[in-house]
């Protein structure tokens, strides 16, 4: 018998798993059917890194720049001045004394 015929006969020989073994293996495999959540550092990084990048990007892009900061202060100063400039006018409208001396003289 040549090696080729030998190989053909060997290859043709059937060895199949017995049915009891097949059932046992199916039961073993069934234990894998329920998904289990497994924490791994790799998975945590895959989620955490993009989230951290998004947070960092939102901080960087929403933070006011220097130019914007000056403009904001100037606007604030104007607003402050306008408020305090308006207060004496309001006081006068309600008869409030303009100074402390006049308030004392009025009592006497």
């Amino acid at each position: 018998m040549s090696q080729r015929d030998l190989a053909a006969e060997l290859r043709g020989a059937r060895i199949t798993a017995p049915s009891e073994l097949r059932l046992r293996v199916r039961l073993i495999a069934a234990a894998d059917a329920t998904p289990t959540r497994r924490f791994t550092w790799r998975r945590a990084l895959v989620v955490a890194l993009p989230v951290a990048a998004a947070i960092a990007a939102s901080i960087v892009f929403t933070r006011p720049s220097d130019h914007q900061a000056v403009g904001t202060v100037t606007t604030r100063q104007v607003a402050h001045g306008a408020v305090h400039g308006a207060l004496p006018q309001v006081g006068k409208a309600f008869g409030a004394p303009a100074t402390a001396d006049s308030a004392g003289a009025a009592k006497l």
Partner: protein, 158 residues
């Protein structure tokens, strides 16, 4: 591919490999069960980019079989039993002639293993060598030696 799908698809291959390796279908039955239990625990390590599930399962089966052989040797030494000559089971596989069945008896477990991987399961030399943990050249040499022994035994039987 899920583990269940891999197990269903390759059970016969794994069982056949173990049967060839051990020469004992009853042992192969036990070892196949252990193989799939271990494979399930290790399934998260299986990377399909590195090889097929079939090859991976055969590698796990080989490890299980070698552990079995080691523990059997230890047990035998401990119990001080006379060494039982390794005997290939009769009626090992369907489709094998009586002469070839008898000839398989002269092969060692290692030789049967390489025949199972290269011929029966049709793994290429590199893949079979990978499973065996030897070089492809060594694997081919072992196969040739095994086939030559079978040829000679069949010639004598004829």
């Amino acid at each position: 591919m899920t583990f269940a799908q891999a197990a269903e698809a390759h059970l016969d291959d794994v069982y056949g490999y173990l049967a060839w390796f051990t020469g004992d279908r009853a042992a192969a039955d036990d070892l196949a069960g252990e193989t799939f239990e271990r494979a399930l625990r290790l399934w998260h390590r299986f990377d399909p980019r590195r090889g097929s599930a079939r090859i991976w399962l055969c590698q796990v089966a080989r490890t299980v079989a070698l552990d079995h052989f080691r523990s059997e040797r230890r047990r035998t030494r401990r119990e001080q039993l006379a060494a039982v000559p390794e005997r290939f089971e009769e009626q090992f596989a369907e489709g094998l002639s009586h002469d070839l069945q008898a000839a398989l008896d002269i092969l060692t477990a290692g030789e049967r293993e390489v025949v199972a991987l290269r011929v029966v399961l049709d793994f290429d030399a590199v893949t079979a060598a990978n499973v065996l943990g030897i070089s492809p050249t060594n694997c081919t040499t072992r196969l040739n030696r095994a086939l030559k022994k079978l040829e000679e035994a069949l010639h004598v039987a004829a």
